[in-house]
């Protein structure tokens, strides 16, 4: 039920983001979703890609610092309070969201949001019990 994400350290200087996308593109890796957290000095780029291991290897070979993390992809009803209903469930179980970002593609009538939780296993259990749809990795990589 978990989705693999890679995160990349990017120094805040021109051309670095372009370099990441070029390296991935030339290795035939397709980006499914991304988020960038940044400070004035550096940024953390998080990606969901179709070929996680290939992406990690090619970026490392080009000198980037790359880590692999497990995140959760959740189907969120595409209507007002859709996201809120899910956050209520998590809050009731005292599970913290470290960060989250939205998927570009929709899954039928629903939006897809990537979550990083402090307790990944607990989050998946609670969400599934409450009937929230959690997507498996294979599904997400090929969306």
């Amino acid at each position: 039920m978990k989705v693999e994400q890679i995160s990349i350290f990017i120094e805040n200087k021109s051309g670095r983001l372009a370099e990441v996308t070029r390296v991935l593109g030339e290795a035939g890796v397709n980006i499914r979703a991304l988020s960038l957290a940044d400070t004035s000095d550096f940024g953390i780029l998080r990606l969901i890609v179709d070929k996680t291991d290939t992406a990690k290897d090619v970026l490392k070979s080009k000198g980037f610092t790359v880590n692999k993390t497990e995140v959760v992809a959740v189907e969120v009803p595409d209507r007002p309070l859709g996201l809120n209903s899910i956050l209520q469930v998590l809050d009731a179980s005292r599970i913290n969201v470290e960060y989250m970002y939205a998927f570009v593609e929709r899954c039928g009538e629903n939006a897809v949001i990537i979550f990083r939780f402090d307790d990944t296993e607990g989050a998946i259990r609670v969400l599934t019990e409450q009937g929230v749809k959690v997507l498996v990795g294979e599904r997400v990589y090929c969306m």
Binding site: S7, E11, I44, F64, T65
Partner: protein, 433 residues
């Protein structure tokens, strides 16, 4: 201008030499008798106080280094029991441990006298209001100047460092006439005055005594023109005493070393040979009157040159030029001594940190800044910004604790710090002194 102690400061050279010889002989004997480190050094070198037949025989005695002080931390170099020590100060050290120095009542009295000499040479009198903007604490700067100024009879404002706007308000209201701080802080004050739309004529300052960091003649001209004062330089180091080892007179042609208390030598830092008068080399100092903490041939690592001709002010005491650099890798940042190895050790102690780092020194306005660039790796890289920031904060906190100085930590991409022949260039100094 006045000379505080003309009998001593204007002594004929032959009289001075005789005095130095007597005091040196006693110092060597006391050091040998009371400090195991000196005893061992003298025995290893096969010398004793009896071998001193003339002053130049001092060159036969072994040097003392910062490493000796580190190995004998905290009290191993003291030559008197602690019950005779009435004050303790310290300076930053190479390994996180500071250097501890002690003073007996006589030492404090001599120190105060020498600072009074130095301040008088700069033109400070009993009529002055002395604004001391050095940080009060273990650092010798503030207390040294404080008691010297009181000895002269000046009115002392122990304002300490920080809060420049308040400093300016107090300077205006209390009519401070003499400023004691680092030269870069003097320029920070000038900047604040500009920003507040005030001219130098809004203050009553007329003289400044600046020390604790190296500064150039250009900087002197800038301070003098912007603050409208006479800016004088002085020199000292806590291992030897603190401020008051040497100071400029109104002619600003070198800092008079108070040779009735210290013997200066200039050596070649590579061969350790004593160089003839007038040579540029490393300054080595021996104390002649210190009771608690005698120093025999202490290698200051400061590069300078000595002038022995009598000064126009009438003082016969030798003059040392402004220091031109260091014979080791020590950096002076905001008046604090920093060794790259100290930073390296802090980084090593942080889980996952690799020793790929670079120090970038710069100036913001007139204050030094220190940035420590650390190459990131998988262990110290997190996908969560909160954790990444906590990591940076942790390293900054540990650096501040070790250095006694705020340094900014900047994470950079791996292999982005240029390496030269496999070794990284550790220090980039963009400051113009």
């Amino acid at each position: 201008m006045r000379i505080w102690d003309p009998d001593r400061e204007c002594m004929a050279r032959d009289q001075l030499t005789a005095l130095q010889f007597e005091q040196l002989r006693t110092t060597l004997e006391r050091a040998y008798r009371n400090v195991p480190c000196y005893q061992k050094k003298f025995l290893d070198a096969g010398v004793s106080a009896k071998d001193l037949r003339q002053l130049s025989d001092l060159a036969r005695f072994p040097f003392t280094t910062k490493e000796d002080l580190r190995l004998n931390y905290p009290y191993g170099m003291f030559a008197v029991p602690l019950r005779e020590v009435v004050r303790i100060h310290s300076s930053s050290g190479t390994t996180g441990k500071p250097t501890v120095v002690g003073y007996t009542r006589n030492d404090l009295n001599n120190w105060t006298e020498l600072v009074a000499r130095m301040m008088t040479a700069a033109g400070v009198t009993a009529d002055d209001i002395v604004h001391i903007a050095f940080g009060y604490g273990l650092f010798t700067g503030a207390f040294g100047l404080h008691y010297g100024a009181e000895r002269i009879g000046a009115s002392v404002i122990p304002i300490s460092s920080g809060n420049t706007e308040k400093q300016i308000m107090i300077m205006q209201d209390y009519q401070s006439s003499a400023l004691v701080c680092t030269p870069s802080y003097a320029l920070t004050i000038a900047d604040h005055l500009d920003r507040m739309g005030l001219g130098a004529d809004s203050l009553k300052l007329r003289v400044g005594l600046f020390g604790a960091e190296p500064w150039s003649e250009e900087m002197r001209r800038e301070i003098e023109s912007r603050l409208g004062i006479l800016a004088t330089d002085n020199f000292g180091l806590s291992e030897v005493m603190g401020p008051g080892v040497a100071g400029e007179c109104e002619y600003k042609c070198g800092m008079h070393i108070f040779e009735d208390h210290f013997i200066p030598e200039i050596i070649d830092p590579a061969t350790c040979e004593v160089l003839p008068p007038g040579s540029v080399g490393e300054l080595v100092l021996t104390t002649l009157t210190k009771e608690a903490f005698p120093m025999i041939r202490y290698r200051t690592r400061d590069i300078t040159r000595l002038h022995y001709d009598t000064c126009r002010c009438g003082r016969t005491m030798v003059r040392m030029e402004k220091t031109r650099g260091r014979s080791d890798d020590m950096l002076i940042v905001k008046g604090v001594n920093v060794f790259p190895t100290q930073i390296e050790e802090v980084l090593f102690q942080v889980e996952g940190c690799e020793p790929h780092y670079q120090l970038v020194l710069d100036r913001e306005g007139h204050m030094d800044t220190l940035e420590v660039q650390v190459e990131v790796n998988e262990t110290i890289f997190f996908d969560e910004m909160k954790k990444q920031r906590e990591f940076v904060g942790l390293v900054e906190k540990r650096l501040a604790a070790t250095l006694g100085l705020r340094a900014k930590v900047k994470l950079v991409e791996p292999a982005s710090i240029p390496r030269h022949e496999g070794k990284a260039k550790r220090v980039i100094d963009r400051r113009k002194t």
